[in-house]
């Protein structure tokens, strides 16, 4: 059979078709002109953002809700460097992305040509892998490898930099969605000996706790986890990245652990004799001071990435593998421990230390926690929530009822302000029939506020809740608690009228300053097709509690009872 020759730009689109990609996110420019020219005749859907950073976050939101790699197009130089924050965000949270950037023509590389930036060099530490293509003949294999790497093992972003002339160069095109990379062989099935040791440890445990994270969601292990927890009667705590992997409404659920976790979760980890950790990486926001973290506990750690095991904390029973497969194997052999007394103790903690709800309104000001609870009630289960970063993010994690996997999108590892709104856009594009809500802050929202234009252009039914306390609340909270209330550069008393900004972009804007207005505005938003922004003006002094001071033992938790 004669292999047909096509241009590099056509190869990119053919590869996307072969990989089942029907949606990309991007922004055109000089070096990708041939690619966008090819796109003109293609059925591939392209969402035009207003800043390349938003394209990555949107693709990231798309990937988090679907599990499929998100695809981004951007031009060379500033187009490519604008992707950096988004790529780092996806890298830290193990989100599969394939990013195609244009590069100056091959002959100009290394000459400081117009719009030239060494994007493979720049993104080396924040991609799972990257490529600079020097010949169109390499493109089919490179594209296939990129999709394979992005979406297997521990997922992550993969970037392909393609010089402008390579898009126009013709070469033979034969595509295979399967590839074999000699230095890349992820382990999926757990070691049987280790699994047996884990089963024994679980059977003998008196105070076991399941500590799950984003890996549960990536591997689709929610059903297995739920069965495991219920059958073994072991309480569950989930990191920010794990929220949704286990229904938040279940009796055995403890909430998040760590810095803004629940008292019950932190006490349970501290007093536990067996932590069954799955798809987590023992981040400092969870462990607090490492030396005092769960000193009495044996730790089983299940993770697909061997480098995570033993990285921050010593592990007694390491199991490298896909969490879902390992859980299946454990379930087949498991004998439930007796946890009756332990659960009773935990229940006392849960009753004694409920999440602070902010209490009554002061001077008629809205409480942010109350707004989140109201949003949760009115939007209902199954809503996809994308948050930004800061106080509103923690309140959302604490007070929004998250019952399904892939419905809570948040920048956990990198903590990227500006993530939420474009991620919500990507989620809506992926799931047009689901309710999508972006919960953001007045600080975060202004980092990608230009995407109101995108939402308006495509009439995307994304609702935006701005929890507006006229300050950079989380930093302000730290200044209040740890820096003598010296509020350096955290007051935003010159905020725009967000509802008017929205209107100017062609997006419906509403304002709510008390509970009645809030309820009314949410009702209007729910009845309206298309994007709606609600500016919730909330009390500035409200802080996120419980809280563990950084690098303190997690049992030293400030509950904030006033």
């Amino acid at each position: 059979m004669k292999i047909r020759k096509i241009k590099g730009a056509a190869m990119v689109l053919e590869a996307l078709r072969e990989e089942g990609v029907d949606q990309v996110f991007g922004f055109p420019g000089g070096a990708v002109l041939p690619l966008y020219n090819q796109l003109y005749d293609s059925p591939l859907k392209h969402l035009l953002v207003r800043h390349e950073q938003a394209a990555v976050h949107a693709a990231d939101g798309y990937a988090r809700v679907t599990g499929k790699p998100g695809v981004v197009f951007a031009t060379s130089g500033p187009g490519a460097t604008n992707l950096v924050t988004g790529i780092a965000t996806a890298y830290m949270d193990s989100v599969p992305l394939v990013l195609i950037t244009g590069q100056v023509a091959s002959g100009f590389i290394g000459t400081d040509a117009f719009q030239e930036a060494d994007i493979t060099g720049i993104t080396l530490p924040i991609t799972k892998h990257n490529y600079l293509v020097k010949d169109a003949a390499e493109l089919p294999e490179t594209l296939s490898e990129a999709f394979y790497l992005a979406s297997t093992g521990r997922c992550g972003p993969v970037l392909i930099d393609i010089p402008k002339d390579i898009f126009d160069q013709e070469a033979p095109f034969a595509y295979s969605v399967h590839c074999d990379i000699s230095g890349y062989k992820p382990t999926y099935v757990g070691h049987m000996g280790q699994i047996s040791r884990a089963v024994r440890a679980i059977k003998n445990a008196k105070r076991p706790v399941i500590f799950g994270g984003g890996g549960l969601i990536r591997s689709g292990a929610s059903a297995e986890l739920t069965r495991f927890a219920r059958e073994a009667k072991i309480p569950v705590t989930l990191s920010l990245m794990g929220l949704g992997a286990y229904p938040g409404s279940e009796e055995l659920f403890l909430g998040m652990p760590g810095m803004h976790g629940s008292v019950a979760a932190n006490y349970a980890l501290t007093e536990s004799d067996l932590i069954i950790a799955m798809g987590v990486r023992f981040d400092d926001r969870v462990t607090g001071k490492l030396e005092t973290f769960a000193c009495d506990a044996k730790i089983i750690h299940i993770d697909i990435d061997p480098a995570e095991i033993g990285k921050n904390i010593n592990i007694d029973i390491p199991i490298v593998g896909d969490v879902r497969l390992v859980l299946e194997a454990i379930l087949e052999r498991m004998k439930a421990p007796n946890t009756e007394a332990w659960l009773k103790k935990i229940d006392t903690w849960k009753k004694q230390y409920p999440l602070p709800d902010g209490g009554k309104m002061v001077n008629g000001c809205l409480k942010p926690q109350a707004v989140i609870r109201m949003l949760s009630d009115k939007f209902g289960p199954g809503t996809i929530v994308a948050t930004d970063v800061g106080q509103h993010q923690m309140w959302s994690a604490q007070h929004f009822s998250i019952t399904e996997p892939r419905t809570f999108l948040s920048s956990g590892g990198l903590g990227t302000m500006g993530y939420g709104f474009p991620a919500a856009i990507g989620a809506k594009v992926a799931m047009p029939d689901r309710k999508v809500l972006c919960i953001t802050g007045d600080g975060s929202f202004q980092m990608n506020i230009q995407e109101l234009a995108t939402a308006a252009q495509y009439n995307l039914d994304v609702k935006i809740a701005v929890i507006n306390n006229s300050c950079l609340g989380m930093v302000r909270q730290w200044q209040e608690l740890f820096y003598d209330k010296r509020y350096s550069c955290t007051t935003l008393n010159v905020n725009p009228d967000f509802e008017k900004v929205a209107e100017a972009f062609g997006v419906k804007g509403l304002r709510a300053e008390n509970e009645d207005e809030a309820a009314g505005a949410i009702n209007v938003a729910l009845e309206t097709r298309g994007p709606v922004l609600i500016n919730f003006v909330v009390e500035q002094e409200e802080n996120v509690f419980p809280m563990v001071a950084p690098n303190h033992p997690i049992q030293e938790i400030i509950t904030g009872g006033d």
């Binding site: 080396l124 600079l132 990379i181 990285k311």
Partner: protein, 164 residues
């Protein structure tokens, strides 16, 4: 302690940067590094010496394995192996002391590879200790310049570090 890692990598553009970059961004210090070919076409061998604890070297190894172009990582310090470095020393030498230098070089089974009216270049191979020792002796005459390869190493016996 010092660890000598043999890292087999695909001979792809940027692979040295990937490996070196990983060490620096994770805060691991490279003592020295040597890169060269292997018996398998397309596969290069990097020999990297790092000074760190057992826990850190384990983490380094795992992180190296995650690089797509890294095919195999093997810690040679835990196994019997032959380790060598090559050093070139330009020594201040005059008619009067050339034979003294020559004698030292012979004792260390080195070679004089270049002579000029007021200097000699000495080539010597060996492990770190031996190179340190000859350097110390030649310092007496005045060393003008030193060039050193990184350490290279092979396992003793018939065992090999292979890509699969």
């Amino acid at each position: 302690m010092k660890h000598v890692l043999a890292i087999l990598v695909e001979d792809k553009p940027g692979v040295l940067t990937r490996v070196a970059g990983l060490f620096s961004r994770r805060g691991f210090n490279i003592d020295n590094i040597a890169v060269g070919e292997t018996v398998t076409p397309g596969i290069s061998r990097m020999t990297v010496t790092v000074e760190c604890s057992e826990t850190i070297v384990e983490q380094v190894t795992k992180q190296l394995h995650k690089l797509v172009n890294v095919v195999k990582v093997s810690n040679l310090s835990n196994q019997p192996s032959v380790m060598r470095e090559l050093m070139l020393l330009k020594v201040h030498a005059e008619v009067g002391n050339r034979s003294d230098i020559q004698q030292i070089v012979e004792t260390f089974r080195g070679k004089v590879v270049d002579v000029s009216p007021d200097s000699m270049i000495v080539e010597v191979t060996g492990n770190e200790e031996k190179l340190e020792a000859i350097k110390l002796l030649l310092e007496h005459f005045g060393i003008k310049e030193i060039a050193c390869t990184g350490k290279v190493a092979l396992l003793r016996g018939s065992k090999v570090t292979r890509e699969s």
